[in-house]
């Protein structure tokens, strides 16, 4: 158990103890009456590395006074897998499988972020349009799968066990689609530097279109089953309110930022791939938190933004399905990639926020610096300010709403 002194971030004063009486009475048996200085101090609980609500291995040292949380201190590092040191030790293409394992719920988006960063360093590499289209379809399908897991596990945190199973039923369909295209269920390494690994099997695009149609009806069912459920609203509205200034100050991005009403989405405002044309063609909008069920920026808003984003992803996938036409899927990339010397930072819109790669190459086969800016790592810092003042049950709801993935937090 960590010593109390470690919680320097949370204030350490005890509650006022009961003042002993002034004069000391002598008892019949002759000895002095002993007054114990009764002081109540806050309880320190380790919502430890193994806890159903911490979505993996994150420890939050909670200081509570009864049910009221008076201090919280996240402790990370229980899944630190030295991703950046490996980035400086293996070749460019060999590092791709490691990018799947940061945010293991949206491996396609991680590959995309890394590939775009490397392509920013190789200006003469040109990516064919079909490759871009397949990249966008896979990235958006993976965003739906990731938000489904977020929706399912958030139901578990609030106590509703069943939505988790429905969410995973749809996710299995997406995983089947990905299995058809690249053979893996979770860590795909499919989006390579210069395009995608292999072409879509026959009938795959038709099945993606079927999925989009079926998913629309199912989505409405989930939305009514949990998000509009009165108890769920009671548990999440007005809980963990993040104002826009707080979001800027903590560097939040993605659904956390949009949940507080800030209209910013990298796919639309700083477009990469063909998201700009997709937005101009009206394929997708950007849902924002509106504070409809409680104050603006509470847990309900963030969850509602994630749910509505799934529908926008369907719009993008359908637009790509119309635009796609046969052609090459990968640019001319040598077997052993030698990236010209230079530095670049590229950030893309991951389901959890902005996932950015800073790459520095000195012209060799191996990167000299591969910095990963993980959105969950940054979004988690806001817990220290959100948790004090909430109840224990709200603390669990707040962690669930930040939707962190510990693989990405600890890299």
């Amino acid at each position: 158990m960590t010593s109390p002194t470690e919680t320097s971030a949370t204030e350490d004063e005890h509650k006022p103890s009961i003042r002993p009486a002034d004069e000391v009475r002598i008892l019949a048996s002759g000895e002095r009456e002993f007054f114990m200085d009764v002081a109540t101090s806050d309880l320190e609980i380790n919502m430890g590395p193994q806890h159903p609500a911490t979505h993996g291995v994150m420890r939050v040292l909670l200081r509570t006074d009864g049910e009221l949380v008076t201090g919280a201190q996240p402790h990370l590092g229980y899944l630190h897998r030295c991703a950046e040191k490996i980035g400086e030790s293996v070749e460019w293409l060999q590092y791709l499988p490691y990018t799947d394992r940061y945010d293991y719920l949206s491996a396609m988006n991680n590959n995309l972020s890394y590939s775009l960063a490397v392509e920013a360093l190789m200006p003469e590499l040109e990516i064919p349009r079909r490759g871009t289209m397949i990249r966008m379809i896979c990235a958006e399908l993976n965003r739906i799968a990731s938000h489904l897991v977020a929706f399912g596990t958030y139901g578990l945190d609030i106590g509703a066990f069943t939505p988790f199973f429905y969410a995973f039923r749809e996710r299995e369909w997406i995983q089947a689609l990905f299995e058809k295209i690249c053979g893996a269920r979770l860590t795909y390494s499919y989006i390579r530097i210069g395009g995608v690994f292999n072409d879509t099997p026959p009938g795959w695009l038709r099945e993606v279109a079927d999925f989009c149609d079926v998913f629309e009806g199912k989505w409405q069912e989930y939305y009514d089953l949990l998000i509009e459920n009165h108890i769920f609203v009671q548990r999440t509205a007005n809980v963990g309110v993040i104002t826009a200034e707080m979001a800027y100050d903590f560097g939040l991005t993605g659904p956390m930022l949009r949940g507080s009403g800030v209209d910013f989405d990298l796919r639309r405002d700083m477009p990469y791939l063909e998201y700009g044309q997709a937005h101009d063609a009206g394929a997708f909008g950007v849902p924002l938190g509106t504070g409809e069920k409680g104050t603006l920026g509470d847990c309900w808003d963030r969850t509602q933004v994630r749910m509505k984003e799934m529908i926008e992803c369907l719009g993008i996938v359908r637009w790509c399905l119309e635009q796609i036409e046969p052609g090459p899927i990968i640019g001319n990339v040598p077997r052993v990639i030698k990236v010209p010397p230079g530095e670049a930072y590229v950030g893309i819109e991951n389901p959890r926020g902005e996932l950015g790669h800073y790459l520095h190459s000195d012209g060799g086969k191996i990167a000299t610096r591969c910095r990963v800016r993980a959105p969950s790592f940054v979004n988690l810092a806001v817990l220290e300010d959100l948790m004090p003042g909430s109840l224990l049950a709200d603390a669990v709801a707040i962690i669930g709403a930040t939707d962190i993935v510990v693989g990405e937090t600890d890299r």
Partner: protein, 171 residues
């Protein structure tokens, strides 16, 4: 079960009682919710509807180590997490089993060479019953690992003296 364990000769009565005790153990292995990394998502997929682990009676994921019999180490164990894994293993009640799920828990996985904080396999700190290969292993592989554990339980002897039991003993 302290007194009764491995105390009796092998006759028709003790083999029947052994069969019953083993049948009860293998039909209700309760795993502990102990997901570390990507394999945890595949473990959740196994617990979910498509590949239902509850068919084998192992669907009751217990959050506390006290009530769990099976610890599925699903993901990378690094040194900081290692002490916690050891403490959790010690807190589990005695007939307990460990499945090392995935390449990371079996032997460090992709982080073997350059992962300075990664422990090269969880069997360095706790005894492991079943290893499952794959990164992450498919849900069917985890179910197959559970069945391998069930086979192992069928062959253990609770009451009979172990000396008479050869590995080639029919299940």
């Amino acid at each position: 079960m302290g007194i009764l364990e491995e105390a009796f000769e092998e006759n028709v009565l003790t083999t029947r009682v052994d069969w019953l005790l083993n049948w009860a153990r293998l039909n209700s292995i309760w795993p502990m919710t102990f997901g570390l990394a990507c394999c945890a998502i595949e473990m959740m997929a196994v617990g979910a509807a498509h590949h239902d682990i509850d068919r084998f009676g192992a669907g009751a994921f217990r959050a506390t180590p006290r009530q769990a019999d099976l610890m599925i180490v699903a993901g990378t164990v690094n040194f900081k997490m290692g002490e916690r894994v050891k403490r959790l293993y010690d807190q589990m009640a005695s007939p307990k089993y460990v499945i090392a799920m995935g390449a990371c828990a079996t032997g460090g996985g992709p982080y073997f060479k350059y992962g300075y904080t990664v422990m090269k396999g969880v069997d360095r700190i706790i005894p492991v019953d079943v290893y499952i290969a794959g990164c992450p292993p498919r849900p069917e592989a985890l179910l197959e690992g559970l069945m391998a554990l069930q086979d192992k339980l069928r062959r253990t002897s609770v009451i009979r003296k172990p000396a008479r039991l050869q590995p080639s003993d029919p299940a």
